[in-house]
Structures are given as structure tokens and as C-alpha cells.
Subunit: 209 residues, 2 copies
DNA sequence: TTAAAAGTTGACGGACCGTCACCTTTCTGA
DNA sequence: TCAGAAAGGTGACGGTCCGTCAACTTTTAA
């Protein structure tokens, strides 16, 4: 006899419907964005892909942009634990860069490997040139991580905002290009970025201020 | 007695009006984008800012996006000669990186220094996360330049697409942050990027393939 | 059992879209 | 110089999508 673990039971009918509707809208949006592209898509297209009425959309989201943000935040939510793991396991700067770039490029390859292909704008972290608040917070996390790692080895006198910006800029731009190559090779991209950034940081640290 | 140098004379009334209308629309667009932001702006807002009729807009541009592209291309057109100069004067990799980043960050500072401030999305190269064809061609030019400079010193066995992507990613992301700092210090950003990238490339070149 | 609360529905007024028939201005060449 | 042709400006119009809201249905809770 199940106690109260199953969402079908612990949540009322009303709450379950809400969850389902929200998910239906997000799924529909993913489908529509993939089919005709984010720019071209409109709210009616999305709602038509579900069996809900147009008015219902507005009980869940204010705009197409907000739906996009929710999808992007899903990606961020999936990525964040990886970053957490990277943070915990990193021994030094090199291993941190390796793990962080590795996590990012592999994540990107998996998220977008097939899903995109056609004209769809990047749904995951990359290229979501719409910078959502969640995105910003990832950037902040990385900066904090870098500061910790670099402080350990006495390189914390650098301009950490720029260091982080450079690290992220490399990831974003390289990521775009990596996704266009066949076969997808996130490992290659990881090695490249790691070496580049490591050498850069070490040299900057030595250079006179 | 003026011969035929003055546009007021060498062009017919018709042609002059066309130029003026086009310019009026572009100026209005710049104003409106700056005032209410690119996303929020619509074609009627732009045309209302001129003394033209709505139908006239479509004799010049197909959409708001196309206007944006024209504005972005203006920036690109202003930037391209600088890149040309950098190319001609660069002696080696270090001087090329210095000159190229310098050109970019100073250009950015001048273009956006005041003009932006409020919520306007970046109009110049940076952050125009809408990647226009002209933008792409700048990227290609830089890659070609880097290839030439690096070939001279025997570093041309690297993955030049990734080298270029990294260089541009650093510029884009650092540029965003630079613009948010007061006082604007493009020289600082230039130094940072140059050192980072130079060390990275040299190390990559030495590392076993 | 039933009244209140929550949530859904789709029709509606409003905004912006892109077009096009009409009109004004400029150009051309006789 | 002038008349017919060409270019281009105009704004009203039908169409689409927007976001809202009163009416309705379903769920909850007492």
C-alpha cells in the first residue's frame, strides 16, 4: 500500500493538471522552435501544438520570451550539478579548467547534437545570446570557482572579471564552431580550450602589473 | 565655380530624396532603439519618428531586422578599414594581437561609450548576437590574417578555426564587461586580451599534437 | 452535499503588419 | 519648354496575432 510518495496521489487533481499543462506548453514550444525557428514562432503556434485554449497560455507564461527562458533555465538546471561536481573534484587550476570545459563541451554536444541541426537557435547555454538571469548566475559561479582555485595557487591578483569573461567567451564561441563540425568532438575542443586558457592565465599572472 | 563634386548637384532631386529618406529611417531607428530597446521597437515607431508614411518604409527595408542589419553593417564598414590597417602594419603575432584587440576595444568604447548606457542592445560589433553576414566576413578576415601572421613564424599547424573562435570569443565577452566599467579603459582590456591570447597560442603551438 | 475557489475557454477589441491603388513629383526627349 | 512616362510617396485596408475577460467547468474543502 503506497503511502504518499507518488505524485499522482500526493498532489491534488488540480495541481497535477497544472504541472501537466506547463509541461505540455514547454514541450510544444520546444517542438515549434525546432520546426520553424525561435524568431518565426508565435504564441498561437505553440498553443496550437497543445490541446489547450489560447487564454490558458497566459496562466503559465507572459510571453514567448518567457517560455524560452524557462527552456534555457532547464538547461542551466541540468548543467549546474555538473559544475558543482567539477568544483568539488578540482585539485588545481589545470584540472579545474579541464573538468569545466569538458563538462561544458560534452553537455553542449549532448544537448544539441541532434536536436538542433536545422535552423533552431541554440537552446542550451551556448548561443542563447539572450542572457537570462540564470545564465548570469552560472557566470558568477564560474568566477567564484576560478577565484577559489586561483587563490590556492596565489594567482588571485588578476582581474578576475576579465579572466572569467575570457574563459566564457572562449567556451561560447568555440562551442558554436564545435557544434558545426562532424563528427562532434567535445574532447578535442576541451583540450584546446584548456591549454589556451591555462597558458594565458599563467603568463598573465607572471607579467608585471 | 563648382564643377560636379557636390552631391547636391551631381545627383538628381529624386536620387537625393532617396538617400535622405534612407538616412532618415536609419537615424530614426537608432533613436528608437536607443529609447525603447530593439526588441520593443516596431516599424511604426520608427516611421513615426520620421515624416514619412508607413508604406514608404517598405521601399527601403523589408523588416525591422533588416534595418538593424544595415546599422550593424555601418559599424562593420567603419571597423573594416581599421582591421585593414592592422593587417598592413602588423610585424609579428604579438603586434598583430595588440593592434587588433586595440582597434576593437577602442572602437567599441567610442561607438558605445555614450550611445548605449540605457537598455539598448549593442549596436556595434559586439553583442550583436544577431550574426549578420557582414559580421561573419569580419570573422573570416581575422582568421585569414591570423593564418598569415602565424604562418610567418611557423605556427600554422594549429586548428585555426578554433584559434580564431577563441580570439573572437575573448573580444566579445570581454567587450561586454569593459563597456560596463567606469571609466572606460580599452587599453587595459587590450593588454589583458593580448597577453592571454599570445601565451595561449604559443603554448598550444609547442604542445604535442 | 454544496458553495467557494481555481482554472479553462474562446470570442473580442486593439495593435501592428505588409500591400496596393491612387496621387504627386521628377525626369526625359522632342 | 512642355507633355507623357517613370519613379516613388501615401495612407487606408484586410489580415494576423496579441492579451484580456466574462462565462463556464471542475476541483476542493467544509
Amino acid at each position: 500500500m503506497t503511502v504518499t510518495a507518488d505524485p499522482e496521489i500526493r498532489l491534488g487533481k488540480r495541481a497535477r493538471a497544472k504541472e501537466a499543462n506547463r509541461k505540455a506548453i514547454l514541450d510544444a514550444a520546444r517542438t515549434v522552435f525546432a520546426r520553424i525557428g525561435y524568431e518565426a514562432a508565435n504564441i498561437r503556434d505553440i498553443i496550437r501544438e497543445t490541446d489547450l485554449a489560447s487564454g490558458t497560455f497566459y496562466n503559465y507564461f507572459k510571453s514567448k520570451e518567457e517560455v524560452f527562458e524557462a527552456l534555457a533555465n532547464d538547461s542551466v538546471a541540468r548543467f549546474r550539478p555538473m559544475l558543482q561536481k567539477v568544483r568539488e573534484e578540482a585539485k588545481d587550476l589545470e584540472s579545474y579548467l579541464h573538468a569545466a570545459y569538458g563538462a561544458y563541451f560534452h553537455f553542449l554536444a549532448e544537448e544539441n547534437g541532434d536536436a538542433i541541426e536545422n535552423g533552431m537557435p541554440h537552446m542550451s547555454l551556448i548561443g542563447v545570446r539572450i542572457d537570462t538571469p540564470d545564465m548570469q548566475s552560472i557566470s558568477d559561479e564560474i568566477r567564484a570557482d576560478l577565484e577559489i582555485v586561483m587563490e590556492k595557487i596565489g594567482l588571485d591578483h588578476l582581474d578576475m572579471e576579465y579572466v572569467t569573461a575570457a574563459a566564457i567567451g572562449i567556451a561560447r564561441e568555440m562551442g558554436d564552431h564545435m557544434l558545426k563540425r562532424r563528427p562532434l568532438d567535445p574532447t578535442e575542443a576541451t583540450e584546446f580550450a584548456r591549454k589556451l586558457m591555462l597558458a594565458g592565465i599563467e603568463t598573465l599572472a607572471k607579467s608585471p602589473r
